[in-house]
Amino acid sequence: MGVDWFTLIAQIINFLVLVWLLKHFLYGRIVGAMKEREAKIAGRLDEAARQRASAEAEAELFRARNLEFEANREDMLARAGDEAEVHREQLMEAARRDAEKAQVEWLEALQRERQGLLQDFRERLGQEVFSLARRGLSELADAALEEQILKVFLERLQTLDPAERNAIATAVREADREIEVRTAFPISPEARERLSLALQRELDDSVEARFTTSADIICGVELRTPSHRFVWNVDSYLEGLEASLFEALDENAEKHARLQ
């Protein structure tokens, strides 16, 4: 039992070689891997911490938003209620307008219908009245009445509005001083003379009257130029009567509509 020097030196070399080999194949690699893993885990932990912090910040943000939402909810509800009320008012207003419009249209339609009926009635009434008047006057008409009519006509001519008189005179002059005098019945030469003189006096000295008869004229006289017409007959009275009659009818209709 002793120290074998060759073995001792060989063992020293063996040991040093083993140190070198293990440093290369074991410690370096294992420690490197452990450090790398630690760095990775630390990185992951950092990342997790960062994500957690981010998530917490986000959660805090949402909590704050929830609180804000809760705080604002009453206001929002009130605002929504107000808006709904306004909207309802608008809709009601629109509905009211539509209803009014429909009512107006209905009233207008009613009015139109009534007007149509009245017009129809008026026309029939007028026709009947005229028919009656015409028949009555035709039956009553004779030379004496004609005389009377002419007399009234001459009075009307004398009291004619100056502007109208000028207009007729101008029209007569434009028509080569010829004027047509239309009557329902043939009139006497004296009456013609008198009318011609009156026309010359009132309108123009050189006017010439041409006398014709027309069945359309009821108890009246008509002065006619190609551009002007001056009439007096019973029709004008009938028209006045018709106007007052229809006015009274219209008033009654309006009163009825208001009551409805």
């Binding site: 063992q11 020293i12 194949f25 294992i30 420690v31």
Partner: protein, 238 residues
């Protein structure tokens, strides 16, 4: 029976003798290096590890923890040397239970070689830490009169290191052999188990002592530096 594997010679040419010590040393080296290579060629840096990598990482981590505890320094500098001492001795001693295996640590040449390595490494680590002058001054501490004792202490502790390991391993082998002769059935099993424990403890003791020797030289220097700085602060203070 052979007390030491140095006595088993496989090949001889002059003073060159290939003994069982060398052959089994190479075997242990091959197992250590081959196993490390096999495991570390595919290392995972993820959280899922192979069993081999887990084992090696646990071993390396334990060694690093021990170095850190003893030296209070980062273990990277001492790890290859101290770790290899522990692993070589531990694997040699554990394989002693394999029939036909002669642990190289049972050879005084091997333990002396390892002790010499420690003996040389102490000044090398010391010089690397604080330079030649700083290291040599440590032998004059606390007084120049103690220089011979310091030198004797260095030598004797190296010899003690070598003899302790050799004696323990050799005695373990001897005891198993003796027990086999006396009670060949059950007793050797118990002795082998005890031998395993003793082998691991010896590996641990050898590595820790080497570490303590290396660290104590550095720590003495550090303590001196700390004392000097404290004294300076006291002088500067009120």
């Amino acid at each position: 029976m052979d007390i030491t594997p140095d006595a088993i010679v496989y090949w001889e040419a002059g003073s060159v003798r290939i003994t069982a010590t060398l052959v089994f040393t190479w075997l242990v080296m091959a197992i250590l290096v081959g196993g490390s290579w096999l495991v570390t060629r595919r290392l995972s840096t993820e959280t899922t590890l192979s069993r081999g990598q887990s084992l090696l990482e646990i071993v390396v981590e334990i060694i690093q923890e021990q170095i850190r505890d003893v030296t209070q320094q980062e273990p990277a500098r001492y790890l290859p040397f101290v770790g290899t001492l522990f692993l070589f001795i531990a694997v040699s001693n554990i394989l002693a239970i394999v029939p036909g295996f002669h642990p190289p640590t049972g050879s005084l040449s091997t333990t002396a070689a390892l002790a010499l390595c420690v003996f040389v490494s102490v000044p090398l680590f010391g010089i690397a830490e604080r330079g030649v002058g700083g290291f040599l001054r440590a032998y004059l501490q606390p007084s120049a009169f103690l220089l011979p004792f310091n030198i004797i202490g260095e030598l004797t502790r190296t010899v003690a290191l070598a003899l302790r390991l050799f004696g323990n391993v050799m005695s373990g082998t001897m005891m198993v052999a003796a027990a086999l002769a006396i009670a060949p059935l059950f007793f050797p099993v118990i002795m082998s188990a005890l031998g395993l424990l003793i082998g691991l403890i010896q590996a641990y003791i050898f590595a820790i002592l080497a570490l303590v020797f290396i660290a104590s030289a550095n720590q003495a220097h550090q303590e001196q530096a700390q004392t000097a700085s404290i004294n300076e602060k006291r002088r500067d203070g009120p």
